[in-house]
């Protein structure tokens, strides 16, 4: 099936009349996904958004419930309305891979996060394959195909004048069948996307096992500022904190993104901090990305989107770290 580019906006507008459709765009100078509405211009040529799409499933601040006190001093808890049906249209394959990671965290191993599960269930993912890569893109090295996202409900691949439409899940099939008036039959070869930045993940995961005390971390972390930029622009970072805020007669229980780069992240009530300095925090971040997650879920927590490489204030570059790990010679483990 093909979706001609001319039919793209009519399709989107038609979808937006029923459900919330999120598209990549630039709002107030920030490249991010936003709800299609008057004044919001979708930009499917944008290589990728600055802010990852994870906000759709895991908002920076998520209100969990709210409560109030009545005249008798009793507390009452109220839940929020359940979220609505949503479509994310134009999500890139790397970001689709990040949703795989998030699904693992929030839905598997016996832990199901209600808020995430609810939003995820109501989200239809329409991925558009890339036609060009930024200099910081290295998805291919992380096992992501820039023109194909296997877990998207619907995959759109650029063929020039039209997108090749593939429904990949039952949800996707249902959706595509409803779009039929905008689609035409046919097939075309997707345009390829050349990703120039390449790193080798060969042996990196295993090697890291023996590198906990390696000097590599010190050399790496020394230039880190310990800001949270990398974690907040990362599509897979998923740490959160739960807190509450009272205002007037009401209070809100919420959860919000947290960052393992902050010293407060691991600070304990008694004052002890097991990760007191940036060395420990940096090591944790990269071990989590490249080793811990791999061990637990069998996949890398880095999808190669390049956002952290792009946005890091001090150009601390995960691709260089991966190279460095690759060329690092692990000292032979001493006999037990």
């Amino acid at each position: 099936m093909l979706l001609s580019k001319q039919n793209l906006m009519p399709l989107l507008n038609s979808l937006a009349s029923d459900v919330d459709v999120f598209v990549p765009t630039t709002i107030d100078g920030v490249k991010k996904f936003a709800r299609l509405a008057d004044g919001v211009e979708p930009d499917f040529d944008m290589i990728n958004t600055t802010m990852p799409p994870k906000d759709l499933l895991f908002p920076q601040t998520q209100k969990m419930y709210h409560f109030d006190v009545d005249k008798n001093g009793s507390y009452h808890i109220h839940e929020y309305d359940e979220s609505r049906e949503q479509i994310v249209f134009g999500i890139r394959p790397c970001d689709m891979r990040s949703i795989v990671c998030l699904d693992e965290v929030f839905l598997t191993k016996g832990f199901v996060d209600e808020f995430y599960a609810n939003a995820r269930e109501k989200l239809l993912t329409v991925s558009i394959g890339c036609t060009q890569a930024a200099e910081t893109c290295f998805c291919t090295s992380m096992g992501v195909d820039p023109i194909y996202a296997p877990n998207a409900d619907v995959m759109l691949q650029d063929t020039g004048d039209a997108y090749k439409v593939t429904a990949q899940t039952p949800k996707g099939e249902a959706a595509v069948s409803a779009w039929s008036e905008f689609l035409s039959d046919g097939d075309a070869e997707p345009v390829n996307c050349d990703v120039t930045l390449k790193v080798s993940m060969e042996g990196v995961v295993d090697k890291l096992e023996g590198m906990y005390d390696s000097p590599i971390w010190e050399n790496l972390s020394i230039k880190c500022l310990n800001c949270g930029t990398c974690t907040y622009v990362c599509p897979t970072c998923h740490c959160f904190d739960i807190s509450q805020e009272n205002r007037k007669k009401d209070g809100v229980r919420f959860r919000c993104w947290d960052s393992c780069m902050f010293s407060e992240y691991t600070a304990m009530a008694g004052g002890h901090n097991p990760r007191p300095e940036k060395l420990e925090r940096e090591r944790n971040r990269f071990m989590h990305k490249l080793n811990f997650f791999e061990r637990r879920y069998g996949m890398s927590l880095c999808v190669g989107c390049g956002r952290c490489v792009e946005k890091c204030p001090v150009a601390l570059d995960i691709t260089r770290l991966i190279d460095d790990i690759g060329s690092y010679e692990v000292a032979p483990a001493s006999a037990e």
Binding site: I222, C227, P313
Partner: protein, 284 residues
């Protein structure tokens, strides 16, 4: 010899002689014209040091991280030297903790656009103010006429426009705290945002909490800001933070006399920790 060659040679000598334990400069990054801060302890690594017109990062704040190893050598331009002065005046480091290799700064460029960085076009002191030696000559650079021009632009808006202007800024802030972490004036052992007992600022990301952070940040650093513009440069959301810093600086300038921080090493109290009996009276 070019400044880069002198820097490499001096870093090597200083490390070899044991006069310093670490040297801070820049190295080339992965991408074209990209540089990134470099901290070396081994004289053999001196060859990695670079100095070109794309050295965007300031270096002074790294001194506090590596000081425990011994005396620190670093390259200083105008902004780095003012940051060093700031750290000394705030008693974070001592003058004898650092060996400063000064370098004249022609102003740095954005590696992607090749345009001068905004912070560099606004810079009033491009050459180092404090140094132990100079690597080459001072550089010429145009000094901006009115450093408060952008503040005046905002002031010219109506109150409602300003409310919305800053609301949109705070709406965009993701509270990554890069502006804090890069700032040579932000040297608290624990930032107020991390103080949960007082709970100054809540952890929700919304306009109100972000405003609390934004306003307090400015109140905390306003009387020390060296106007290096790093906060604005590192902001991943490109928020115009200097419009806030310079507002406070402009007002201090107007109210309490010519204000520019970090120019000289001095034990003088900052403008907001002193007073004059003759200060303007607006609250009768």
């Amino acid at each position: 010899m070019s400044a880069q060659e002198i820097i490499r040679a001096r870093a090597k000598e200083l490390l070899e002689s044991g006069e310093i334990a670490t040297f801070i400069g820049w190295e080339a990054g992965r991408f074209t014209n990209q540089t990134t801060p470099l901290v070396i302890t081994d004289a053999a690594d001196a060859g990695k040091l670079v100095f070109n017109e794309y050295c965007a990062n300031t270096l002074a704040k790294y001194v506090t991280d590596v000081l425990a190893r011994g005396k620190v050598g670093l390259v200083v331009r105008g902004c780095d030297s003012r940051a060093i002065v700031r750290l000394i005046n705030d008693k974070v480091i001592k003058r004898e903790d650092v060996y400063l290799v000064g370098v004249g700064c022609p102003g740095m460029k954005d590696r992607k656009t090749d345009e001068p960085l905004k912070k560099c076009t606004e810079c009033r002191h491009n050459n180092p103010l404090v140094f132990d030696e100079m690597a080459g000559e001072n550089a010429e650079k145009a000094v901006p006429e009115d450093r408060f021009a952008e503040v005046k632009e905002v002031e010219a808006m109506t109150a409602a426009e300003r409310t919305r202007y800053f609301e949109s800024i705070y709406a965009k802030c993701i509270r990554c705290y890069a502006c804090r972490d890069v700032c040579p004036c932000c040297t608290c052992r624990e930032c107020f945002v991390d103080q949960r007992r007082e709970n100054w600022v809540g952890k929700q990301n919304n306009v109100a909490e972000n405003r609390f952070y934004g306003l307090t940040r400015v109140m905390h650093i306003g009387d020390r800001c060296i106007e290096c513009g790093e906060c604005e440069r590192v902001c991943p959301m490109d928020l115009p933070l200097m419009k806030l810093n310079r507002k406070v600086i402009q007002d201090m300038n107007d109210l309490f006399g010519e204000f520019e921080s970090g120019l000289v090493i001095s034990a003088e109290p900052s403008v907001l920790t002193t007073y004059e009996l003759t200060d303007r009276e607006e609250f009768m």
